[in-house]
């Protein structure tokens, strides 16, 4: 990509008056993809999503159509679709505005996707801490029922679907798909050992597809415009568009929907650059669980392959921008405290390991300890990474190992300085304006 352009598809409704309502969505052609899908066989819908090259937008990047095709159709148990709307990965803030501004595209995606996998019951699991978003999705589902887009014999197709909007109750771990299923079954949100994978034994031990909000919301556009249309955007192995979320020390933070493969340099150009008078110091490509990158990675194409090759992960395209006023040790300690708090406690390496990481980091941040503690931290990371049921513990090690890789001297400066050498007041949104703190 030489010229960066934005490609609003999912965000295209957001500036429309009362965009969250059914009339507004239908005025933009909403629910027409549904009829087109009903005119296709279920397998053809799955193949269209496969051909489009849509990969999971919740962070992992697994091909969505392939996930759907893993559902064993000869299994006599009911099939279920579950939408993961538990958006909680630090830095990630795309699904929430999407459901607030355009909930019907999610509902239409749910219907088409459920039809494809032959599910007659679908669940939208929304984190509980976003009340107005839950209102908007509840209302969209109710409107869709009233208009005959949900319920029995939808659009005269003979296909039936019921959708339940389910509010979570505060647990980052429920963004992990099997922990989410536990929450949806009314249990503590603790991940399950795999295999069996949810496609074989998911909700109520039945074949279940779990997809991220943005993945499901992308489906109507693929069905309506064709797989080739979707695949015409993006890069060879990371096709289509995605919402990039810029936050932190950037002039115009916000949501930028663009083809995969756009670079941070291009996005920063659109967003007016890093805060006046400061330089980019470090950033996350896809939330706090993806290893930190620095200014040397500004031209890395933001797709699954290139970010992976740069030593990180595309994740959720949650681009948290930190300028030169920010202490990386403070930032990493705070993330680590988060992982310690959110560890579900099931697996020992994660439960105990995240506790020890906080102890070691907190000491370093205060300028205590010694250089050997950096090796201790890396050793602790080595004892956590890959040793638990889910990826929470793995994610906890990402900011630590990457920050030591790029900013070892800054850790050491805490030791020589006898504490943090940074003034946290300089990092605030109001720094340089008025003194309020």
């Amino acid at each position: 990509m030489t010229d960066a352009t934005l490609t609003p598809v999912l965000t295209d409704m957001w500036d429309v008056d009362r965009s969250w309502t059914l009339p507004a969505y239908e005025a933009k052609g909403g629910y027409q993809a549904l009829d087109k899908a009903f005119g296709m066989s279920q397998d053809d819908v799955i193949n269209a999503v496969k051909d489009a090259g849509l990969r999971g937008r919740g962070g992992a990047g697994f091909p969505t159509g392939m996930k759907w095709s893993f559902i064993p159709q000869d299994n006599p148990r009911p099939k279920y679709l579950v939408v993961n709307a538990d958006e909680s990965e630090p830095g990630t803030c795309k699904d929430i505005p999407l459901m607030m501004g355009n909930p019907h595209v999610l509902v239409e995606g749910v219907i088409i996707s459920s039809y494809a996998i032959r599910a007659n019951k679908a669940f939208i699991y929304i984190r509980g801490e976003v009340l107005h978003v839950i209102r908007r999705v509840q209302a969209a589902v109710a409107e869709a029922y009233a208009a005959g887009h949900l319920g029995t014999n939808i659009h005269g197709s003979g296909y039936d679907l019921d959708v339940v909007v389910h509010a979570g109750a505060g647990a980052y771990i429920c963004g992990e798909e099997t922990a989410l299923l536990e929450g949806l079954e009314g249990r503590r949100g603790q991940p399950r050992l795999r295999p069996p994978f949810p496609a074989v034994a998911g909700l109520y031990a039945s074949p279940t597809v779990i997809n991220n909000v943005e993945s499901i919301a992308s489906v109507p556009s693929i069905v309506a415009n064709g797989a080739a249309w979707f695949a015409s955007m993006g890069t060879e192995k990371s096709k289509g568009y995605g919402i990039f979320s810029l936050s932190g020390h950037v002039k115009k933070p916000g949501q930028y929907e663009a083809p995969l493969g756009i670079t941070l340099r291009q996005l920063l150009d659109l967003a007016g650059g890093v805060r006046e008078g400061h330089d980019l110091k470090f950033w996350t490509p896809g939330g706090s669980s993806t290893p930190l990158l620095t200014a040397e990675h500004l031209d890395v194409p933001l797709d699954f392959e290139a970010v992976g090759a740069a030593g990180s992960m595309l994740g959720t395209r949650a681009l948290q921008i930190f300028d030169d006023t920010v202490c990386v040790v403070r930032a990493v300690l705070r993330w680590t405290e988060f992982y310690k708090h959110e560890s579900c406690g099931k697996c020992t390496p994660c439960r105990e390991g995240t506790w020890w990481l906080v102890q070691t980091l907190a000491r370093l941040e205060k300028g205590q300890g010694s250089e050997a503690d950096l090796d201790l931290l890396l050793d602790q990371c080595d004892n956590i990474l890959g040793r638990s049921f889910c990826a929470l513990g793995d994610g906890a090690t990402s900011p630590i190992s990457s920050s030591i890789q790029y900013f070892r001297d800054e850790y050491l400066a805490h030791l020589t300085h006898g504490g943090c050498p940074f003034d946290s007041a300089r990092s605030t949104a109001w720094a340089g304006q008025e003194v309020t703190a």
Partner: protein, 236 residues
């Protein structure tokens, strides 16, 4: 604490009935009992257990796992300050410190109701609430209060305590914590059409696209009209 009335018990059963297996109703059921009693009481745990045919210990295990369930009362307005890294750096730490001092409370505590106050306020630090482009963010009863400052946050809690109407920066007029819990249990309150479709940061990219005339590629001819793709535009 009042006992759960018949209406609440009927609604608990109604929630359980939404699911193929009734235990799935437990999370929204616990939201409902909080809306009635202001916290999860031992009595409510027994009631949920009875409706779902599981043990009180199983319900307790769930109620103590999720942070939104409270075993002690919260204020009419529960103020959550995001202190995860990005918001903390952008000022969340300063906001949380100022509110603790101003309200004279620690984390997850209710501020004293003063003479003449209409409402109570409680304070908690929360993890990332998916609004990072509006950092630093404060949640009140799980509604967004975007782009906060320490001074602004103090003014807001004072407005809440003295009974003034406060509106989310990206949502409706704030309801009480108990009313919010009822919506989370799946009983809408009619405020869905309040507030905007999107806040300013959500629209940052879209506004640039509009200005520059950028759109997604147009749909191939002879296809059904695009769902959300542009109505016009040159084929690529």
């Amino acid at each position: 604490m009042s006992t759960l009335d018949d209406k609440t018990l009927a609604e608990l059963r109604e929630i359980a009935g939404r699911y193929p297996e009734k235990r799935s109703g437990l999370l929204p059921m616990l939201h409902l009992v909080q809306s009635v009693q202001g916290k999860v009481t031992p009595e409510a745990i027994e009631a949920c257990a009875e409706v779902l045919d599981i043990s009180a210990a199983e319900v307790s295990g769930v109620a103590t796992f999720y942070t939104m369930y409270k075993r002690h009362g919260v204020g009419d307005f529960h103020v959550g300050v995001c202190t995860n890294t990005l918001c903390a750096v952008m000022g969340g730490d300063a906001i949380f410190a100022r509110l603790k001092e101003h309200l004279d409370v620690g984390n997850d505590e209710v501020a004293e109701k003063r003479e003449g106050d209409q409402h109570t306020v409680s304070l908690e630090h929360v993890e990332c609430n998916a609004a990072c482009d509006y950092a630093p963010v404060v949640m009140v009863n799980w509604e967004f209060m975007d782009n906060q400052t320490p001074d602004g946050a103090v003014e807001m809690v004072e407005a809440l305590r003295t009974g003034q109407e406060v509106t989310s920066t990206r949502g409706p007029r704030l309801c009480t914590w108990r009313e919010a819990e009822r919506v989370l249990a799946g009983f809408p309150d009619g405020r869905v059409d309040e507030g905007p479709a999107a806040g300013p940061a959500s629209l940052a990219g879209l506004e640039i696209a509009r200005e520059k005339g950028w759109t997604a590629p147009s749909a191939p001819v002879a296809e059904t009209p695009a769902v959300a793709a542009p109505e016009k535009g040159e084929a690529q």
